[in-house]
């Protein structure tokens, strides 16, 4: 069984958006962690992790989300999740992480929320 994850990043005025699709697990987590290190974040910006295409996420996947949050906080920025799949949303609920990861239906909604908060 091959493990697939596609990763792309784009930049908006609100901050970088990282789009993940496929399986976020033990095998694919290191790639995302490497990508995080190269992500430019300015203080006050918001890092959005778009999870629309995620089909599987295990505990290593959670590690990546927490690493992303640490990365954002270290840059005096914030983090938000977009399009969290139902199963992952349940895991975030069980692990109590829903409190520390604001989540939005889409990346656009996340950007909009950031603008509203910044105004």
């Amino acid at each position: 069984m091959t493990q697939h994850l596609t990763l792309s990043t784009r930049t908006t005025a609100a901050g970088p958006v990282m789009e993940l699709a496929g399986e976020l697990d033990h095998h694919t987590a290191p790639r995302v962690r490497d990508a995080l290190a190269g992500l430019a974040l300015r203080p006050g910006q918001q890092l959005v992790v778009d999870l629309k295409g995620i089909t599987f996420c295990d505990s290593s996947g959670l590690t990546v989300l927490i690493a992303a949050r640490n990365h954002a906080l270290a840059a005096d920025a914030t983090i938000a999740l977009a399009a969290v799949p139902e199963r992952l949303s349940r895991i975030l609920g069980i692990t109590g992480l829903d409190d520390v990861f604001p989540s939005h239906p889409t990346a656009q909604d996340a950007e909009h929320a950031w603008r509203t908060a910044s105004d």
């Binding site: 290593s60 927490i66 690493a67 109590g96």
Partner: protein, 419 residues
Amino acid sequence: MCETGEAADSKDQAPVHEEARFSEMLEDSAEDLYEHAPCGYLSTLLDGRIAKVNATLLDWLGYRRGDLVGRMDFSDLLTVGGRLYHETHFAPLLQMQGEISGIALELKAADGSHLPVMVTSTVKTGSDGQPLLIRTTLFDARDRRAYETELLRARQEADQERDRLKLLNTTLQKTLLPPTLANVPGLDVSAHYHIASVDEVGGDFYDLFPLAAGTWGLFLGDVCGKGAAAAAVTSLARYTLRAAAVYNPDPAAVLANLNTVLNHEYQGTDPRFCTVVFGLLTPDPDRGGFRITLASGGHPPALLMRADGTADYLPTPGGQLIGALPNAHIATTTVHLSPGDTLLLHTDGLTEAHTTAAGGDDRYGDDALLDFGRDLAPTTASDTIGAVRDLLDAFGTGVDDDTAVLAIHVPRPLSEEQQ
């Protein structure tokens, strides 16, 4: 024009000249090619007697021509095993097909040493189609044999390394689990650890141990990730939990302590965390049974199967996983365990297991586990663990993560059981 003419002449002459030179360099005699070819040639009569042999093969075997021609059969040159193979396979196939190629055999040299060769034979027929003799070429296969032996050796070594790694992982896994669970008077305890992969150490853990003044501590958790790095966290988590419980047995305080330790130890891009449930067991002399206070750090809820046949999860909402956040919120709940009640703690390897071989979104799930508990209740610790093991066996390879389960049960008094 003149220049062009000269150039044309020289062009015409050159190939002729070159051809002659090549011809000189190349085989001037077919006989020499036969005798000193880089392979052995052998012609035998249909009954196997050697009729002709080239110098290369004589040289390899250390025979003189007179030793072989007319005096020995091809099969006389083979080792015992080779002769058997020649008789049962080689010769019949050659007779049937008229040719046979790429057969690995061993020749016996005059000095008794063995020479691995690749053998190809064809039957030469006369103009009337009748077979006349057998032509055989033999290639020196010593290099090839050495290569094969080397490959085999490397493979055996790799297999041995893999076995050693498996043994190491299994041993390491065992050191992360208590060899036996403490015997708690008035309580039946049973546990099981399911290893999903022997190639990597998993991160599940549990323990049950005495604390001061007739109270008992228990915990069960799941460190994120696999392998040696996760095992190090598992070890740290176990010892921290036991030490913290001695210092202050309040379950929320125990988990807060572990959170501080893990959060300080692992930060930045490689966060390490675990989900864990810690319980403090206190005998309840007034009502019988035990009181248990459970603190959860982002762990799936415990399943309570009661004496009256009902079953429910004991939710601990809002508890956050341990080690990821500086001030993780820890949720607690307290229940009374009456005689006949059974409490099951599990890691999500059980609920995340695939229920079909097809994979995909066919995971067992929390609802199925609750139904499982409702079917079992009322039950005992060992019956619960037995049923979970049967369940895991039924999932087979569908269990792709390690799974730990721990069940505690308050037995009914003997007099009540007899009724």
